[in-house]
């Protein structure tokens, strides 16, 4: 079986979790005997070509495609990007991207046909235009390779239009994969309607929709009006191959409770601060760390100061590379109090580093992690209880660390890919 896959990024150059997930999926598919042609907007050449044939959309000139495809693309081609639709990048990087792109004004649209388009492949300010161009190039690639695949697989809204174009031009079945929805990026009244409509169109055009959790599956069904029998949950996994846990000498003897992620409303940072203040009322010898950056960071700093806990509540700013591993290695408890999290890979990373984790019921990860502590994001008392217990009862913490480590090592992309293969089989006529 062969699949034409549309992604947005692929390791080693990734800004968010999507690239990592795609890599895991492709590797898992190989083990299940599925070959993949992986299309991405801007490949660098150092991607792992042993697991898939990588096609760089920037290398492919657009042909004048069938008018039906042209027509729907017309509607989106000139839509400019708004704020609040940057899916995975962090605010610092986003700012840099926007600044960089302001300097190099985009090419005019009449040059599209017969020419190559250099995609940035990032999540920058002319994202919607890139999405539209990607669809045209994607259609071209699908036609060129139409004898080489049986099914099309498109990851998240950025690639849905490409998936639809490929389906319309080749008649091959389409599977769209929902890693996140507009409802996970902003509160309900802040939804970007242009993104929402692309998401909806992709799900409607698809023969099957894969959701990363039951939580996301419910959103797909309820908020996008997709028929339940078309939507299948395949939980994410995580690939720890070749990774060794860091040994870091600790500077503080206090126990450390860590939040690591974007500091945005969706991640529930303020519930963590409230829980921290409750814990500090009952026990000393503990420090809280909020690692990351985001639009709520300054508000959180003020919040902690107002509660008078700033000497025990630390902010690290955005962590890169090894600092993330270092932070896990320094942690005794990990917490992800997300208000809405399609899946949430970070607790898996924490548990892999032997750190017991507390996660919100409003995360997809809660559906698969038996050995994580689960609370409702708003229940700061329960959160404080769990933190206190993990800090003060070593037997509990050791058990959670040991079992959690085993548990996340059992979550393999291989198994997830096997389920995806079944989905493919169900749509190939």
């Amino acid at each position: 079986m062969r699949v034409l896959m549309f992604g947005w990024e692929f390791p080693p150059h990734i800004a968010g979790g999507l690239g990592t997930a795609c890599y895991g999926i492709v590797k898992g598919l190989v083990e299940n005997g599925v070959e993949t042609i992986f299309v991405m907007p801007s490949a660098s050449g150092d991607e792992d070509g042993s697991v898939a044939t990588i096609i760089n959309a920037s290398d492919v000139p657009v042909m004048s495609v069938a008018s039906s495809v042209d027509e729907f693309l017309d509607k989106v081609r000139f839509v400019r990007v708004g704020t609040n639709m940057i899916p995975y990048t962090n605010p610092d990087e986003f700012y840099e991207l926007v600044e960089a792109e302001k300097k190099q004004r985009e090419v005019s649209s009449d040059k599209i046909y017969g020419s190559k388009y250099r995609f940035s492949g990032k999540y920058g300010s002319n994202l919607l235009e890139e999405v539209a161009r990607y669809a045209m190039v994607g259609g071209t690639i699908a036609v060129e390779h139409q004898d080489e695949f049986d099914v099309i697989h498109a990851h998240d809204w950025l690639t849905y239009l490409a998936g639809i174009a490929a389906k319309e031009l080749t008649g091959k079945p389409l599977v769209v994969h929902v890693h996140a929805t507009s409802f996970d990026r902003g509160s309900e009244d802040m939804i970007d309607s242009r993104v929402y409509s692309i998401e909806k169109r992709g799900m409607e055009a698809a023969d099957k929709v894969i959701a990363v959790s039951d939580l996301t599956r419910n959103i797909v069904i309820n908020k996008y009006g997709i028929s339940p029998d078309k939507v299948v949950t395949v939980h994410n996994a995580v690939d720890f191959s070749g990774r060794e846990n860091l040994q870091v000498e600790r500077g503080v003897r206090d126990k450390v409770v860590t939040f690591l992620g974007r500091i945005t409303f969706q991640k529930g940072p303020e519930y963590f601060i409230e829980a921290a203040a409750k814990v500090l009322k009952r026990t000393s010898g503990v420090r809280f760390v909020m690692a990351g950056s985001g639009d709520m960071m300054n508000r959180c700093i003020r919040h902690a100061a107002r509660l008078g806990i700033s000497d025990r509540f630390h902010f690290t700013g955005f962590l890169r590379g090894m600092d993330v591993q270092k932070m896990f290695a320094l942690s005794d408890v990990y917490i992800m109090p997300s208000v809405s999290e399609p899946f949430g890979i970070s607790p898996l990373e924490a548990m892999r580093s032997n750190v017991p984790s507390i996660i919100s019921n409003q995360s997809g990860a809660a559906e698969v992690l038996k050995y994580a502590f689960k609370v409702d994001f708003w229940d700061v008392d329960a959160m404080a209880d769990d933190i206190y217990a993990l800090l003060n009862y070593p037997a509990l913490a050791d058990f959670a660390a040991k079992e959690g480590y085993e548990e996340v090592n059992r979550l393999k992309w291989n198994h997830a890919a096997a389920k995806m293969k079944k989905v493919y089989e169900s749509v190939i006529k």
Partner: protein, 414 residues
């Protein structure tokens, strides 16, 4: 009686914190950015301290007893001079040796101790007096608090330390219709005379001198003299940062030429004379008490302490810092006391100010951080490490008797 002019210059350099990350807590207890301190000090020494000291020395040589100036130099600045630019200390010593220069007492660390803790305040003032004696061989008789912070209560404490003269801001909201150009006294301790800064005339030099959009630009010594003569009081207090000369107002603005010309113009006119705070308070009677229930300062439009304690970040940092006083008092640990002092420098709190929008220019000019949040995070990380060290020291301090109890137990086994 001739009108008095008090020319007083504040000399301070903060001990800046390095980028101190969460990962450093408990591992590295050196909090300071020595390289930046040294670089900045070197620049200011070349542009301001050395040339301006020479200029003042020349004026004193030229006019003898008719020209006098006053300095207050913080302990933090003296430490940096000793370490990086000893030439600056020598040139201040030369000025001190003329006998025409008064040195004021203040808090050694340019701190807000007067707002936090009476014991710590006194300790720092004593430390500063000693440092001035050691460096310049003179004993300060008059007092200026950090940033000219003053209230009735602070004045009472200062009087209790033996000072009879104190400098503060001629803040409009405490003066009302009164003029800053007289000597006043503290209502609780009438023995404490107060000299109030004439902010109009002081800021004409310190802030507006090089502003070409100012209607009175360019400022000349003659013009300035006419303004001083027009003031209707007995005393004109010109208090400003010493870095005004050559650093805030660049040499090219003509600031040095202005200062060089001013004494000659004033003395030729003959209706004013140069004096220093102590002499001034001796010469002029208090015209009345002035009530200051809440602390004032010379900072910002509000002339209060909100530049350092105006938001919740600053308050939390300030409270956490001074909570350590009690534990520290148990310890006789010079290194900890020194870090406690440097962490008290008011500059750290100033960097956390969120008053960017009204007084942004001044705040951002002096601020090494991009945002108040960064300043706060960095400070709290360093403070957290400091607190750990204190707690450790207190813990071992408490264990000493316990360790002795173990010994007889061992003997029993024998």
């Amino acid at each position: 009686m001739k009108k008095s002019i008090c020319l007083y210059f504040q000399v301070h350099q903060p001990t800046r914190l390095r980028l101190y990350r969460f990962f450093d807590i408990g591992k590295d207890s050196h909090y300071y950015d020595d390289f930046t301190d040294r670089t900045i000090l070197h620049r200011i020494a070349q542009k301001c301290y050395l040339p301006m000291n020479q200029l003042l020395l020349d004026l004193i040589k030229k006019y003898g007893k008719d020209f006098k100036v006053t300095f207050s130099i913080t302990g933090s600045a003296l430490e940096q001079f000793d370490r990086y630019e000893p030439e600056v200390v020598r040139s201040f010593k030369e000025l001190a040796d003329t006998g025409q220069v008064e040195f004021l007492a203040e808090t050694y660390y340019h701190s807000l101790a007067s707002l936090a803790n009476e014991g710590e305040f006194k300790h720092q003032v004593e430390k500063h007096v000693k440092a001035i004696e050691d460096h310049f061989g003179v004993t300060p008789k008059a007092f200026r608090n950090t940033e000219l912070i003053y209230s009735d209560g602070i004045g009472k404490q200062v009087y209790g330390m033996g000072f009879k003269t104190m400098l503060t801001e001629g803040a409009r909201h405490i003066l009302g219709w009164k003029s800053p150009d007289f000597v006043y006294s503290n209502p609780v301790q009438p023995g404490l005379k107060l000299l109030l800064r004439n902010y109009q005339l002081s800021d004409d030099i310190a802030f507006r001198f090089s502003d070409q959009g100012w209607k009175d630009w360019p400022l000349t010594a003659d013009k300035f003299l006419s303004w001083m003569k027009a003031a209707d009081g007995e005393v004109i207090n010109l208090f400003m940062d010493y870095e005004t000369f050559g650093e805030h107002q660049k040499e090219a603005s003509g600031i040095f030429d202005f200062m060089k010309a001013l004494p000659g113009v004033v003395l030729a006119d003959g209706s004013l004379e140069f004096t220093t705070p102590t002499l001034c308070a001796r010469k002029h009677q208090s015209v009345g008490e002035i009530e200051v229930p809440d602390p004032i300062s010379w900072a910002d439009e509000e002339r209060d302490v909100t530049a350092w304690l105006g938001n919740e970040l600053q308050q939390d940092a300030f409270n956490k810092l001074y909570e350590q006083s009690e534990k520290l008092a148990l310890l006789n640990n010079a290194v900890l006391w020194e870090d406690f002092g440097h962490l008290q420098e008011s500059d750290h709190l100033y960097y956390m100010s969120t008053k960017f929008f009204s007084d942004g220019e001044v705040h951002s000019y002096f601020n090494p951080y991009n945002t108040p949040y960064e300043a706060f995070i960095n400070y709290m990380n360093a403070l957290s490490d400091f607190i750990i060290r204190i707690d450790d020291a207190v813990a071992t301090f408490g264990q000493a008797p316990a360790a002795e109890e173990v010994k007889p137990a061992k003997k029993k086994k024998k």
